[in-house]
């Protein structure tokens, strides 16, 4: 039986596009599987619950109770894909806790597949955060997201070593368009008949990238 995926979208930096990736992935999984569970661990940024309120619940890792509420849900092999939008302020605490409680080992035992999507930036804090993850997480579970709108050029060489998922930059007017709280990527694909529009192609390309990521992870496990 395929493992239950848990996508953790993270960065120790604000404003790098974590919620954008979480929205895209959440809508892709909903379209593909018909259901998805999303968790929003953001207190200080625009966050997933504002965009996908029907799929998303808030969570926190500030205290032990919050950690239990979140982790005891995501460690379950129930076939329901999960997406976590991990705010920058929770990055250190979440991965410290994950290491202490042996999250990856327990996940492997329970047929749960955590996939860490690290949204890259070129600053020192991101480099340190990525290094922390590389020491803690097997390369097969760690994916660097190159949001071209943020990185604008080459990724730091250390981040290029593993798997990289690229999100092309959109023109500013389209970026503003998709930033509306009522905007849905899947609804746009369904309603916009002209599939040659830049946004149509951008969404399809990103959905394809997620499908390829899922496929490669499934093949890796089999």
């Amino acid at each position: 039986m395929p493992a239950t995926p848990v996508y953790i979208i993270c960065s120790p930096r604000p404003q790098v596009g974590k919620t954008l990736v979480a929205r895209l992935l959440g809508e892709f999984l909903l379209l593909k599987n018909g259901r998805v569970a999303a968790f929003d661990i953001n207190l200080k940024e625009p966050s997933l619950i504002d965009f996908l309120p029907d799929l998303t619940e808030t969570a926190d890792v500030i205290d032990t109770y919050g950690k239990m509420q979140l982790m005891d849900r995501i460690i379950v092999d129930d076939g329901l894909a999960k997406v976590i939008d991990l705010g920058f302020h929770a990055f250190d605490e979440f991965f410290k806790m994950s290491e202490q409680i042996g999250f990856l080992k327990e996940a492997a035992r329970r047929n749960v597949a955590p996939i860490i999507l690290f949204v890259a930036d070129t600053d020192r804090v991101s480099a340190r955060g990525h290094d922390t993850l590389r020491q803690q997480i097997p390369s097969s579970n760690l994916v660097v997201v190159d949001n071209e709108h943020v990185v604008r050029g080459e990724l730091p060489p250390e981040m290029e070593r593993g798997r990289v998922l690229r999100i092309p930059a959109l023109p500013t007017f389209l970026k503003t368009y998709i930033s509306r709280l009522t905007f849905s990527f899947t609804d746009y694909l369904r309603q916009e008949r002209d599939s040659s529009t830049e946004l149509h192609q951008w969404i399809r390309r990103n959905y394809t990238v997620f499908r390829d990521l899922e496929l490669s992870l499934t093949m890796q496990r089999s």
């Binding site: 032990t64 109770y65 950690k67 239990m68 982790m71 005891d72 460690i75 806790m97 202490q100 409680i101 042996g102 999250f103 327990e106």
Partner: protein
């Protein structure tokens, strides 16, 4: 592998609430994980906390009575290699005096018995006076001074120079640190009334599957591994004559 020489470990302090029973529980889990046959005596008579967590191997005794002293010390050669005694608060010095009086300390000095004392220290200066008092009984024993941080003791009242002056007076005393355990995790193990090992394995006291939080089990697993690495550091299994620590999969 198992030596014929019996080993007795006394866990105590003259102050209450410093975590004697918690340390005793980690010792019983440690020996269990290392396949060292162990029995325990709980001197918190008539209501023993240690017995609540390890009922199968623990007996409640009153160490001040001759009959219970016989129950413990006349049966040391009964086949179980390690005996752990959790001494009630305020009884450590008296217990050690009793052991001296019955010739037990001389037997330890003569090498017939392995004897170790885990002296759990509190944060106050009174603990330092306890060290001096207890140390006078320690010839022939392995003496461990345990700083227990499980209940977030800060040891703030200690002046390091004062501590060192006491500590260095005692030959061969070894420092041991028990780290802090997440409060909610500690509380849940208390409520479950199971050994730490069973909590980590998600089992009830009767070995049925339980439903403890994965997060709390993770915290306990991590903490227990740190405690055991301290026991490994002092080569505890070697001390009790069971050779090198060999565990299955405590992590």
């Amino acid at each position: 592998m198992a030596a014929a020489k019996p080993a007795v470990i006394v866990v105590g302090a003259d102050k209450g609430g410093v975590g004697k029973t918690t340390v005793s529980r980690t010792l019983l889990d440690y020996f269990s994980a290392n396949n060292v046959a162990t029995r325990a005596f709980d001197t918190e008579s008539p209501r023993g906390t240690l017995k609540r967590f390890h009922p199968d191997i623990t007996e409640i005794v009153d160490m001040t009575t001759t009959s219970d002293q016989m129950k413990i010390f006349d049966t040391l050669n009964s086949g179980t290699s390690v005996t752990v005694i959790d001494v009630r608060a305020g009884l450590l010095s008296r217990a050690l005096a009793s052991l001296r009086d019955i010739g037990f300390l001389d037997a330890a000095k003569g090498g017939q018995i392995t004897f170790a004392v885990f002296h759990i220290l509190g944060p106050s200066i009174a603990s330092l006076d306890e060290i001096a008092e207890t140390a006078s009984f320690m010839a022939g024993a392995k003496y461990f001074l345990v700083k227990n941080f499980i209940n977030d003791t800060q040891f703030f009242q200690w002046d390091q120079a004062t501590y060192n002056s006491y500590f260095h007076r005692i030959k061969d005393a070894t420092d041991l640190t028990i780290p802090k355990l997440n409060e909610m995790a500690y509380e849940q193990v208390e409520i479950a009334s199971v050994p730490f090992l069973k909590f980590v394995a998600n089992k009830s006291i009767h070995d049925d599957a339980a439903n403890y939080s994965f997060v709390l089990r993770g915290y306990v697993r991590h903490w227990l591994a740190n405690v055991w690495s301290e026991f490994d550091r002092i080569k505890l299994t070697d001390i009790v004559g069971s050779g090198k620590a060999v565990r299955g999969s405590e992590k």
